[in-house]
Every structure is written in structure tokens, then in C-alpha cells.
Symmetry: C2
């Protein structure tokens, strides 16, 4: 670190400590905990961590950072998968975990307002008595709502309820200038000016630090029915999923696990599912509507080589299945404990899904990689969870080549390099191919709103 940079950092830390005594740490273990630790992206810890408790405190910290040109990295649950919380240019992590209050729940308006640091798990626990829930389900209950908005998270229920893009009504955020803005009012729709809400959702903390969110809530469905179907082929499972969507079935979740992923899940969760490509499906609605949809799905699945169709409506059974699905990533880590995992994340138009998954499976086999496939196939989004030996240079090269072919395969059918995990550091290399000249517009916006580049630099671009 240059001495000027070190001086600036010290002046910043001095001012920030005076402002938030006992809520700033430079302890190495604390800083390490605030760097990326989940993927192959190397951890790059910040120089310090601060814990603001109000939007005004965040604004003050941002103004201090602007004065001293210090990078700030907003930190939620630390569950992101593309290195979003790393500090490649140094700087300070702004840990929002103390801003975890539910500020208002308005059942009549089907919305709520929360601070950014609340976790998904706690939000839904607090909503339980209202008969409402927040549907976006990225797989980790420890994700914070601010982080989920910043990475434009989605997950298993997006096919029915939408992603963070669709479920944020308004945001309070601190811009690089230190200005506190609210992006929209609480009306369900508005045509009043530029859509700053959607600009901040998915901006990964590079345009502002989200401190509060007003979110859409949904009524807990009368009936939840879960179905499992094993298939002869990946292709058949994908086609069944696509046909279910095209038929307009009210699927709330439709998830694919390939053979290898079923093996991992069986082992990790003590289940005994047949080792076949399997769809986990869930219907939400009235009991007759769920039954009708389950019957139509059964017909579609049989036509595509489905077996062993089983429905489960008991809460316990459903919880066990979805817990197993949510633990897919961890089941892979458990199966190959010495290896690191890289979670790929392409999304393609539905018509291209079956071919894309099949080609990817063939590529994994030909490349001699361990990479179970799991996917939100109702949205055309799937992950290969690549388990790689970090010390095996040859394998790492094969993985790199596989990743590039995978994204190229998505781009060739007008798909995206990332359906839900974001760019962070891990996907920066694909942005030019994905966006072409639109990147220049994104850079212009970044330059206009954060001319000093203090907000999460080194991400996205």
C-alpha cells in the first residue's frame, strides 16, 4: 500500500473511530471474516470494519470516505458467491448487521419496510403471525435483504413470485455524495421519473449503500403441494419443466437435480431418492387447483419419461425435501471435503434449456470434472457446482476452459452469464461479451454517481 493511501486510511480511521467509538475494528480476524470465503475467488480482506446503526451514520461514514478517498464495501450476510464483499483496492467494510429492524408491516397494503441488515430467515419469522411471507428464496436464510437486493437475488420461488427485481417497492440508500435518497414512494406503481429502485437493485453496492427496503409481501397459500419426479434423461426432465411453464401451471418452484446431485443430497441429508435426474416441484394455491395442476404435471412428466411421481403435502415431508434441495451446495462440499466449489449460474431462454443442460452435462463428462447440476429450470437458470482441487493446476485449467465454454453456450442462445449471483469479481470477464456497448452506458452512470469510485470499486467493471 502506497504511503499516501496509508495516510488517507489512517486519517479516515481516526475520524471514523471518533464518530463510532467501539463500532470500528481493524482486528485481522474480523477483517478476514468480512472477505469472500465461499468461492475460488481469493479472499481480499478490508482494512477495517464499521457497524453503523442508522442511515444517518452510514451517510456520515460515506462522507468521510469521500473526503479521504477510501473504498467502502457494503456487507450484509457475506453469503454472496462472486466475491462481492472483497476489498481488492483496500478500504473499509460497512457491516449492516446491526441495522436489522422490521420498521413496519402493513398487511392491508401487502408490504413491509425493513432495515437492510435483516436476514431473510428472521424477516419471515417476524411475518409468521400475519399470514404473509416474503417469497424470494436464494437458498441461504442468512442472506440479508440489502444484500439480496444488491445482487438482484432470486432462487427457487422466482418462477412464481419473481426475483428481488420484482419485489422491491422502494429503497432508502446513501449515495457516494453522502446524500440520502428514497427511490420511490409506496404506491404499487408509479410513472414518476427514472426508476432508481431498479437501478440500485443489482448494482452490487457500487452506486449506493442500501439501508432500508420496502418490500412486497404475499399471502401464505392455502395449500402447498410438493411433487417429485425422476426421469430417464436430463433432457426429458428439462422438457417436462418447460412444458409445465408453457402450460401455465401455477408452479411455485420447479427445480432440477441431476444424478450426481441426487447422490450428494442423499448422502448429506440421509435420503434415499432414486439416482436419476429429478424434478422437485411445488404448487401453491387452493387445494383443487393444486390437485388439478399436479395431475396435469403428472401427464406431462410421464410423456417425457418421468417415473415415481409422488406428491407430498405434509409439512414435515416438504420441509425435509426442500432442506435437502437448499443444502445442495453444502452437500457437494461435504462429498468432496478437500475441494473448493465454484457455482456457475447461466440462464437461457426456456426453449434453449434442455439442449443447454444436456450439452453442459456432456462437457462436464468430457472435461473429467466433478460438477453436479442443480437448477431453477422454470426460469431457464441452472448451476453446475464445480468441485475443484485448488492444488491441481491441470484441473483448474480444465475448469477455466469449461467455465468459458459454459458462458459462451449461454450467450450463443441469447442467455446470460449470471441468472442470479451477480458479477462481483467472478464474472467481470464476461461483461463485454454480454453487454457490448451498453457497458459504456453503465460506466457513465457509475462515473456520474460515484466520481471518486469509493463504492465497492473493483466489482462489475
Amino acid at each position: 500500500m502506497g504511503s499516501d493511501r496509508q495516510d488517507r486510511l489512517e486519517r479516515f480511521l481516526c475520524a471514523a473511530t471518533a464518530f463510532l467509538p467501539n463500532r470500528l475494528s481493524t482486528a485481522e480476524a474480523v477483517c478476514r471474516h468480512h472477505a469472500n470465503g465461499v468461492t475460488l475467488v481469493a479472499p481480499e480482506p478490508p482494512s477495517a470494519v464499521v457497524w453503523p446503526e442508522t442511515t444517518e451514520e452510514v451517510a456520515h461514514i460515506v462522507r468521510l470516505a469521500g473526503e479521504h478517498a477510501i473504498p467502502l464495501i457494503a456487507f450484509g450476510g457475506g453469503t454472496s458467491l462472486e466475491g462481492h464483499v472483497n476489498a481488492p483496492l483496500g478500504g473499509v467494510s460497512v457491516d449492516l448487521s446491526r441495522m436489522d429492524a422490521v420498521l413496519a408491516v402493513r398487511p392491508d397494503d401487502l408490504d413491509c419496510t425493513v432495515q437492510a441488515g435483516i436476514t431473510l430467515e428472521r424477516l419471515n419469522a417476524e411475518l409468521r403471525a400475519t399470514g404473509l411471507f416474503f417469497p424470494v428464496d436464494p437458498g441461504s436464510g442468512l442472506a440479508t435483504l440489502g444484500g439480496m437486493a444488491s445482487t438482484r437475488a432470486s432462487g427457487t420461488t422466482t418462477v412464481r413470485y419473481g426475483s428481488m427485481r420484482d419485489n422491491v417497492i422502494s429503497l432508502t440508500a446513501v449515495l457516494a455524495s453522502g446524500s440520502i435518497i428514497r427511490t420511490a414512494r409506496r404506491a404499487r406503481k408509479s410513472a414518476a421519473g427514472y426508476d432508481l429502485t431498479h437501478l440500485l437493485v443489482g448494482a452490487e453496492g457500487t452506486l449506493g449503500i442500501i439501508t432500508e427496503l420496502t418490500l412486497k409481501l404475499h399471502g401464505v397459500p392455502d395449500t402447498v403441494m410438493c411433487a417429485l419426479a425422476g426421469f430417464d434423461s436430463l433432457d426429458g426432465a428439462c422438457r417436462a419443466s418447460t412444458l409445465a411453464i408453457q402450460a401455465g401451471l401455477a408452479v411455485a418452484r420447479i427445480e432440477l437435480l441431476d444424478c450426481k446431485q441426487i447422490q450428494c443430497v442423499n448422502a448429506a441429508s440421509g435420503l434415499a431418492m432414486a439416482e436419476r435426474p429429478t424434478l422437485f416441484v411445488e404448487f401453491h394455491g387452493s387445494a383443487p387447483a393444486c390437485r388439478a395442476d399436479f395431475e396435469t404435471f403428472t401427464e406431462i412428466a410421464r410423456d417425457e419419461g418421468g417415473h415415481d411421481l409422488a406428491s407430498a403435502t405434509s409439512e414435515d415431508e416438504r420441509r425435509r425435501l426442500w432442506k435437502a434441495r437448499h443444502d445442495a451446495l453444502w452437500s457437494v462440499k461435504t462429498m468432496w471435503p478437500g475441494r473448493q466449489v465454484i457455482v456457475t449460474d447461466i440462464a437461457v431462454p426456456l426453449s434453449a434449456l434442455a439442449a443447454c443442460v444436456s450439452e453442459t452435462a456432456a462437457d462436464i463428462a468430457a472435461s473429467n470434472l466433478i460438477a453436479p447440476i442443480v437448477g431453477h429450470v422454470g426460469d431457464g437458470n441452472f448451476h453446475a457446482i464445480v468441485a475443484v482441487d485448488p492444488d491441481d493446476g491441470d484441473e483448474r485449467q480444465r475448469v477455466e476452459a469449461f467455465l468459458q465454454r459454459l458462458v459462451a453456450r449461454a450467450h450463443a442462445v441469447d442467455g446470460t452469464a449470471t441468472g442470479e449471483h451477480g458479477i462481483g469479481q467472478g464474472k467481470k470477464a464476461y461483461m463485454a461479451a454480454e453487454h457490448g456497448p451498453a457497458i459504456d452506458a453503465m460506466r457513465a452512470i457509475k462515473g456520474a454517481l460515484d466520481p471518486l469510485g469509493i463504492l465497492n470499486p473493483g466489482k462489475i467493471f
Copy 2:
């Protein structure tokens, strides 16, 4: 017009005529037709109109405009209600009506790609054979998809299918630099970088000229059931609407017409509905689901003072009712032919709707104004269609004061000055009160993407 400005305009027109011979006009009647003609906002015709036929031609025109610092106003169907197509700073209208092709319909992906100048009416006519439709329904079939995106249009079906915000997958647009960008790939979701799609939707042609759109399509529902319910009070009608939404009924449309609006519609469409506050409701789904929802709605409506509940499933009957609803604005013009109309457009949280509508009705009566109320009450959005004598200065003052109170009433309950019509020229005065410091962020984005201010200047800000 200053002579420098006149010189620049002449040089631009000379170059543009050479580029698009026979597709540029300076005829006064043509220019007048391209200015706003629907509301109290005075028409301000452009100096010329061009008709590009390709995105590349639009890009060339934009580059020429940049060279000569000439304002360009994108023109779709000319159906906007807030003066969006006026030329307050002079300049040239870019009429996209020749760019009206359907470029692709992909039933398997439930999407299509169209040029920006296609009208809603023609798009749905072209889709008829596919069993799919584009749901956003702003009330004029002559609106173009580019214009609808630019104003973030919504309408009668938004309560079920969302607005333009929710139904645009990707846009092709020409930026002020002349650069052609595509805002997103065709995957149903993506977390790859800033959301330029949503930034351009609702930007009213001030950040780019939309030339192509990829849109979500929806399956034509099996059953469509329409219901009418008259109420003793406006308050009861609003409460019934809100309760239907809160109960999770699958309403595809839920529209309020007050007594005065029913009188206008009866007169204009030769109907004989009871002169009561009336809800027009439509259910989409399977026949049993529609019937079940209709029954629940009947119970809700009766509890809130509803009478004369009638359902209509015949295509003819439904068409006649919805035609009457869509002609609400014209029915007011017909009833008071010497008057001009101003269509107000506030949207408020659902819990505030009933009080807000009732207070507005009382305000209209106390202000001695003619202003039938019609509203997309399922979204908390309603319009007072104020019929004003343009030559009566005292009445105009009362109207102005009423408009200000109306928006203040929306703002007081965290609502918006415009649910669906946009800012244009008509709502500029309310932007500061609505957005506070967020306006500065919007201005910064405008400055970064259009530093010369050539794209639709004088709108929004």
C-alpha cells in the same frame, strides 16, 4: 428562435434530408399533428418530422442531432397525456410509426420482439393465432409499444399482469451518443450489471430512443368472467376492491367508475347502467376458479353495500362493457364538447385508497368542478377527468388549486403524482416534492448519458 439556433437547425435539416429523402417534412400541418393535442398542456410543434425505418437510421439521425445540438423528440402514437411529444425547445420529431414490424414471436419462450412503432392493437391482432397476448392495456389501442415503454404505461390489467415495468425483457435503444445498445439478453432473469432496461422504461425518451422491444407474452386464459357491481357509496366500492386484492382473488381487472362517469358512459355508449359508483371486475383462469372468485367477490361486495351483481361471460357483452370503460375519457369530452379535459393520475397505497377517493370526490364538489372519477383501484390508482372551460379564468384557477391539493393528498399518504401517465411537462412541478434529493441523482444520470441535452429536453426535469 435565435439565428444561431436557426442556422444549426437548417444545417441539420439539410443533412437529414440528404440522408432520408422523402422521409422528412417541415409542413406545418404535419408538425402540428406531432405536438401534444390531448390535454391542457399547450401544443408546441416541432420544426420538422422524420420517419426512420431502421435502428441504424435512428442512430444516424441522433448523431446528426448531436453534431448540430438539435433536440429530438421520439414520437409513437401521440396518445400520451402529459405533453411528452411537445417541442418546448424546438427540434425535430422522430416518428417511429414506420418501424412497426413484429420481428419474432417465440411461443415456446412466451416472448416476442417488435419494433417500437407497432401499436398495441396491431401487436395483439398479430398474436391472435398463437393463443398468447400482450397484457398491458393503457386504454388506447393506438399507443405504440415504444411509447408505452417510455411512459411506463400500465392500465386496466396491471393488477394481474403488471405494467410495462414488468413486461419488458430487453430493449434496443439509441443513446444520445448515437451508440446502439441492447439493454439485456433474452433470459427471463439476469443479475449481470446495471438494469438499463428499467432505466429506459419510464425515461420518456430523455435517455435514449427505444427502437425495438422484447416483451413477455401471456397465455390467453381459458375463461374470462366479467362482473359488474353498483355500490351505495364510493367508499364501499373502494373498500370492496381493496378487500378483493387482499383476499388474493385472481382479478385481472378491477375498475371503479363514479356516478358522474357512469352517466357519461351510459350516454356515450348507449348503456343503461344504474347511476351508482360501480366496479367493473374481470376474472381470468379456469372456469371453476373464476366461478369461485366471483362468488367470493359477491360476498365481499354485498358486505360493502354492493347491489345488482351481475356476471357476464359472453364475448359480446364483455367487449361492450370494456369498450365503454375504455371510452371513459372520450365520453367526458362528448358530454361537455366545449371543454378541455385534464386527466389526473395519482396512485396511493391500497389502505389509503378509499379515504383518498372520497376526499377527492368531496373536493371536486366543493370546488364546483366537473370531474368524473375512474380508476384502476386494484392498484390504488385513479383518475379524475377534469372537464374545464379553457376561457374561464376563475375555473382554471380552481382546477389548478384542486390539482395541487390532489397531489398533496397522494404525497401525504406516500403515494405518487402519477401512477401511469408519466411526468412529461404536466407533472414537472411535483417532482421535487415527490423525490427530494433523488432528483439530483436523476439529473446526474441524464447529464452523463445526454450531456448536450438533445433527447426530449424540457420533459421530466
